[in-house]
Point group: C2
Chain length 552, copies 2
């Protein structure tokens, strides 16, 4: 067996383009929009991007193609974590490029931005591309996390472009990669290289979202895959009726993924990091909030439930952030040596007790021992606590267990609490893209080539009106600088694309907030099941709940 | 949102029956087969089942229904762990029962066998049943693990049956539950209660398999769900190219689930417990075997891979079984007290070192500390090590890491090894049943009612020829005693259904064995993707690879 039957069947799928791009390459023209400004810090951003700032938004429409006849040699890279649909961005780009001129060439630089620096590439042809249509993963050329951000790197990239006669680079990445795409575009413009840069909005985390990006690609498929699994776990919980499942989901700092999964599955509990921060909740308060649900359900005889925990949650708990900062300080540099030679955990614990403030020690003391040890024993090369490795699903279940023990002693709870833990992340980043992501990504790539063909530089490939059918989608481009503001990073002012956190007054959170009390106490589970590609449209073509609510 | 769009769509699915059951209730008659014998220990089994032993196998065929007109009142229970399709067994049973006589009644006893003992039930009607058609889970009436095995319990069950006028009980369960179904059937016959018992073969573990059971229901859907996830993880590994994923999969002792997942996804490594036992492999040998693949791939520049670890693996490692036995002995009863009061892990370690044999201490010493502590700190109420809780995926990755460090020191390995861990179990037990399981289960239930209607007792609902299209499936019944032999359990001889382990000379293992060397070193991943319900037949209706290979 070389390929699965689904993969073979998906090769036959023809992704849907926005209506305005469906009339063939010769019938796509540009409609100019208004000049743009950055969302904040306009003067500073303008000063940093003198050649690419303030350009017009554009959309494509049906009409005679007026782009100059010019052989295009395009390079494409995948940057950062995998997201379903990345292959289709490249397929759409390739198809538009070849449809425009069969002598056009598409280079795929391997292993992410480093492929561009190291001039490691493949040249795509039909046979190569056809193996990756409508498939998940980034294995078509691989990805990587090298950041393209220094002048030295840009000079190397310019050399590589010159060597191959490359006329444009397409960068498929998240907020950082698109920020860097804008900086590279400015560099190319300032140095009259003639090379254009186009960005495509990728991330399953959903935090690359703003006025111009309705959603990043991959979010749809990844959240549907996690929701499939969470729904299955819920059905198991509701059948066995004896476990509380604590399910941590990926998503970096923001809680978009957790929220979307909650909207799809209606679990008993879903924590939202942004709310925890806004309410300045402590770990104990969070545990108490969960324990309320456990106790209320136990009173009905239901000693089971499901809680979704966003990966980034602990960073949002103020007292925990302080604790982490103190630990980093306590073990900074050579101070760690004195700690490391202590012979037993007891001795280490005494060292910690002497070193932390009273407030942070109080937080530390309530943590389960396994988490305490993790904070001190697993540090990164700089000696810092690795927050992303903290098993927060186990942290909260352990704290809930203690909270319930106190309730039991007080006579206010008389149930059983048995917890199981899950972490969902790698399970969804490389799934076969849903029809939505397959269509959206193909359109992003196709559209990116049209932006190249019409000479745009420092633009984001923008496809919007996504809550409607693909026929009604709007394709065009937006200067990346429009999405930027200035933020303080590592002690320097930097122009960056603002990361989108969950908005507590946005429709998705409001819907969740209005229903969660009922979900916490009753059993309102929804079981989405596996992503379907061939069935009825209402099963196969639903956008995310987040998008549907935002656009309702 | 109350129900997912997939759930609504699946309500409309009409499960396929075997051809011989498709002509309507009035056209189903019995074709007698040969008398049966148990697979072993015939005299002993016969003596234990004087009233139900040796009956004929039967099949159904098209022909005038000659069953006596009799009002049937049937009770059904779900026993043990969830398996996709359980709801459809009940739906098929209900439909045949009502089609035969609309005054027939179906009781669902709640929470597993204990519902029968406690007379806790629902009476099904169309509205109730229709909510559960083609859905996953056992939430229709819940399940439980109480064993129905004593005379006292049987007497209670007989009372409950008498109270409701119940004429037959259908037990949906695994090997133990079907064994107990046979014992209950014998009790009912011996006591002239007139109540019949029919068993249905359920378990995702795949270990209820023999001459008469081609596969237990749920195995198809669960393994497809795990394979979806493993395929996604493989695609992620092959895209990021920096992690080795160790994926533990459910399946109790036997390695059927792991093997099927491996056949579907072609990972670099899949351990098979039965092979480990046959070859008397040590933990170190297993780690070395995995490390060989890691090193060979690293030599090609591939510092990534996927290894599937069956849940039951450690029980099959002879030296590990001895170690567990010694630990259980070392901490038996009050001996644990002296251990528990020791103040530090160091002191406890010394206690352990003094108490184990030299051989077992050598095994213990090579375990990672977290596993060492788990063995001693997490014991069941009887003081025994909880083998099923051992995180064997972490055990092997830690041992592989050490093995690779030694290779690096010896200059034979120069790669990077970074491991991630997954445990797949609850993710698949309650998925929406695949078309195969939806059809198979509905047929099992429908067929179970026909066995009841024709007066059979102590029979298994048997549907076979499953590797062919449903039209060609063969429906009938087989005395459960045929599958039995005598085994020594807790110091007593017991008649039980023989659990099926992976056969090392069977076609599925042979296929795996013939290919795994290539899979270990090359990247031959297959990405099955999510279960499809509506697409082309080759995508939606493939049986498991195990079944296809066994019947090839």
């Amino acid at each position: 067996m070389k390929l699965s039957s689904l993969q073979l069947a998906r090769y036959q799928y023809q992704p849907k383009l926005p209506g305005m791009l469906r009339n063939g390459i010769s019938e796509i023209c540009v409609k100019d929009g208004a000049p743009t400004e950055s969302v904040a810090d306009q003067e500073k951003i303008k000063a940093l991007f003198p050649n690419t700032y303030g350009k017009n938004e554009i959309t494509f429409q049906k009409g005679a193609n007026t782009s100059p006849a010019k052989k295009q040699v395009v390079g494409v890279i995948l940057s950062g974590g995998q997201a379903p649909g990345g292959h289709n961005v490249i397929c759409g780009l390739y198809d538009a490029l070849k449809a425009t001129n069969k002598d056009n060439v598409l280079y795929g630089f391997k292993g992410g931005p480093s492929g561009l620096l190291e001039d490691s590439y493949v040249i795509f042809d039909d046979e190569y591309i056809d193996q990756y249509r409508n498939t998940g993963g980034f294995d078509i050329i691989g990805s990587g996390r090298t950041k393209l951000e220094t002048e030295e790197q840009f000079a190397v990239v310019a050399e590589v472009c010159k060597k191959h006669g490359i006329t444009a680079i397409v960068i498929i990445g998240g907020d950082d990669s698109n920020t860097n795409a804008a900086v590279l575009a400015e560099y190319f413009a300032a140095h009259n290289t003639g090379v254009q840069v186009i960005g495509c909005p990728k991330t399953i985390d959903g935090d690359l979202k703003n006025e111009d990006i309705e959603c990043s690609f991959g979010f749809d498929t990844a959240t549907k895959t996690y929701s499939e699994i969470i729904g299955n776990i819920q059905r198991d919980a509701n059948s066995a009726k004896k476990y509380w499942h604590f399910v941590k989901v990926m998503g970096r700092s923001a809680s978009h993924v957790a929220l979307e999964a909650a909207l799809q599955t209606q679990p008993n509990i879903c924590l939202i990091g942004e709310e925890v921060a806004a309410k300045k909740m402590s770990l104990a308060q969070i545990a108490d909030y969960i324990a309320d649900s456990v106790a209320a359900r136990a009173a009905k005889g239901w000693n089971f439930g499901v809680a979704i925990i966003p990966e980034g949650i602990v960073e949002f708990v103020p007292e925990f952030s302080v604790l982490i900062a103190e630990i980093n300080e306590l073990l900074a540099g050579s101070k760690a040596d004195a700690f490391n030679v202590l012979p037993s955990w007891e001795a280490k614990y005494a060292f910690i007790e002497a070193g932390l403030t009273k407030e942070s020690m109080a937080v530390f003391a309530i943590l389960p021992q396994s988490i305490q040890q993790q904070l001190f024993l697993e540090r990164d090369p700089h000696g810092n606590v690795q927050v992303s490795l903290i098993e927060s699903e186990k942290l909260f279940s352990a704290m809930v267990k203690e909270n319930l023990a106190a309730r039991k002693a007080a006579g206010t709870y008389n149930g059983k609490f048995s917890a199981l833990h899950h972490f969902l992340g790698y399970e969804g980043r490389c799934a076969f893209p849903s029809n939505f992501d397959a269509d959206y990504c193909y359109s992003l790539g196709y559209n990116a080539f049209m932006l190249i063909q019409y000479g745009f530089n420092g633009y984001l490939s923008k496809v919007s009106n996504l809550s409607k059918s693909a026929e009604e989608w709007v394709a065009g481009g937006m200067p990346i600088t429009k999405m930027m503001n200035i933020e303080r990073r590592h002690g320097h002012d930097k122009p960056v694309i603002r990361k989108a956190l969950v908005e507590l007054d946005g429709a998705p959170f409001k819907f969740f907030e209005a229903n969660r009390e009922q979900w916490a106490v009753e059993t309102c589970y929804v079981y989405p099941g596996a992503i379907q590609y061939f069935g009825p449209s209402e099963v196969c073509d639903q956008p995310t709940r987040t998008l549907a609510l935002e656009k309702a």
